[in-house]
């Protein structure tokens, strides 16, 4: 994940303002991380700071990372058909911790389940074949809505 070191032609630090900080993770034993890695690069290329937690996370470990990293949004990638239990549990864990952090979901979610997830407090659900633009706008919109709500 290393990049060439920044050189002197770099614009001054102030130009960055405050990038969106997003925590990306997969819950449980689901090993499909290809999509998550692609999403990490997509969001990086859109100017976000991606805290990549990778595989085998729990709702608690993600909440802990969010607190320390002061993250603006959580992105989960789900491919093991566990989304109907795991995603609402994640949202509850965030609420329980008193964090104002929206949860965005990607991966394999049957169309019929999307409304259920949104009802349970998930901010957005993004499926296979989503373009980079769709991924970025979903994350940005979730952050904007949260900011507006405060």
């Amino acid at each position: 994940m290393s990049e060439p070191p920044a050189d002197t032609s770099f614009p001054p630090e102030t130009d960055f303002g405050a990038p969106i900080r997003v925590v990306l993770a997969k819950l449980g034993l689901d090993g499909h991380d290809r999509g998550l890695k692609i999403v990490a690069r997509t969001l990086r290329d859109a100017g976000m700071e991606v805290i990549y937690l990778g595989l085998r996370q729990t709702a608690d470990s993600i909440v802990a990372a969010c607190e320390q990293e002061d993250a603006d949004v959580i992105g989960l990638s789900m491919h093991n058909a566990g989304h109907l239990t795991l995603a609402p549990r994640m949202v509850q864990a965030v609420d329980h911790a008193g964090l104002d952090v929206p949860v965005v979901i990607g991966g394999i979610v049957p169309a019929d389940d999307v409304a259920t997830l949104i009802d349970s407090g998930v901010a957005a659900v993004i499926g296979p074949g989503a373009s980079a633009d769709e991924v970025v706008s979903a994350v940005k919109a979730a952050v904007d809505r949260q900011t507006d709500a405060q």
Binding site: S2, E3, T14, D15, F16, A46, E69, L99
Partner: protein, 320 residues
């Protein structure tokens, strides 16, 4: 409780071990500007207690794995880690991937914060000194800073840390041949990680030879072999760090290093402020006007620079 300064309150909460409050304070110093300055000033009051350890080395040598294990090996109740990764020069975005190698080892005790360089060259982020200060004021100790993994050995960490650990792997010699002198300058402790691989002893021998050629007075850099993925050698490394800390205290070098650090920071801050103002001046009306004349070759670059420089020194700083 009557109306209190919200910043004092945030510091108190962070000091009692609340990670969310600490996370917020770190965001504030990362954003720079007026709030950051206030937080820095407030943190300065209580800082100065924590041991600061820097971990640097080429990409993939095992810095994060070592750092995570080290926090655990310290046996401290509130260790903290700052893990720096580069921002993309094109978009400003970053993938902060150090944490993934730490979480499994440190358990819940350590506070880990990932930081992007946000355009700062030299393997650290601009906000690192303030971030260290905030962690310190909040009672974290030790504070371990993992630098960006860069091709050449990163030396700026030595200015920010009490003890600098340089991580190499077997076969490192050729990769840093050109910069061996630089290595000697910064390393208080060398780690040969991935000692499970062939020729770790050879790497140690190389380092010993290099140190024989000359080392700073008073402290000869020690060399520790580790297999970080297995946790082997990490306790020895922590023992070495403690030995170095004791040496710093006894020799008076700790005070000298910290004085130098604060002095350097003064210069760095001025430089940063000036850079921002240069940027503003170039972009404002008179800057654009002068650059237009340079475009049309009516003004030489040198003359334009002189012209704008005079407004830099006479202008009041923005925002008062």
């Amino acid at each position: 409780m009557m109306s209190r300064d919200p910043l004092d309150e945030l510091f108190e909460t962070a000091g009692s071990g609340n990670r969310r409050a600490l996370g917020k304070l770190l965001t504030m110093v990362e954003k720079r500007g007026e709030t950051a300055a206030k937080v820095s000033e407030r943190a300065h009051r209580d800082a100065g207690q924590a041991r600061v350890v820097g971990v640097t080395g080429a990409p993939g040598t095992g810095k994060s794995t070592i750092t995570g294990r080290l926090a655990a090996a310290s046996g401290a109740s509130r260790p903290a880690i700052l893990a720096i990764d580069p921002s993309s020069p094109l978009t400003g975005g970053a993938i902060l991937g150090d944490r993934i190698r730490m979480d499994n080892h440190v358990g819940n005790s350590a506070f880990i914060r990932s930081m992007a360089t946000r355009g700062h060259a030299g393997g650290l982020a601009v906000a690192v000194p303030d971030a260290i200060r905030v962690l310190d004021a909040a009672g974290c100790d030790p504070i371990i800073v993992e630098t960006v993994g860069v091709g050449q050995v990163e030396v700026s960490i030595a200015a920010a840390a009490d003890t600098t650990v340089v991580v190499v792997t077997p076969g490192w010699g050729d990769a840093v041949q050109a910069n061996k002198a630089g290595l000697l300058e910064v390393a208080d402790i060398f780690v040969v990680n991935k000692a499970d691989r062939p020729d770790a002893r050879g790497a140690r021998r190389d380092l010993e030879l290099m140190l024989d050629l000359g080392h700073r007075s008073g402290w000869r850099a020690s060399i520790v072999l580790t297999t970080a993925i297995e946790g082997e050698g990490i306790d020895d490394l922590w023992t070495e760090i403690e030995r170095h800390t004791a040496h710093l205290r006894e020799s008076g070098e700790l005070i000298r290093r910290r004085c130098r650090r604060r002095r350097d920071e003064v210069a760095d801050r001025i430089e940063l402020e000036l850079r921002d103002r240069v940027h503003q001046i170039i972009q404002n009306q008179s800057g654009e006007f002068a650059l237009g004349r340079v475009d049309r070759n009516e003004l030489s670059p040198a003359a334009a620079a002189e012209l704008l420089l005079s407004t830099l020194t006479s202008d009041k700083p923005p925002e008062g």
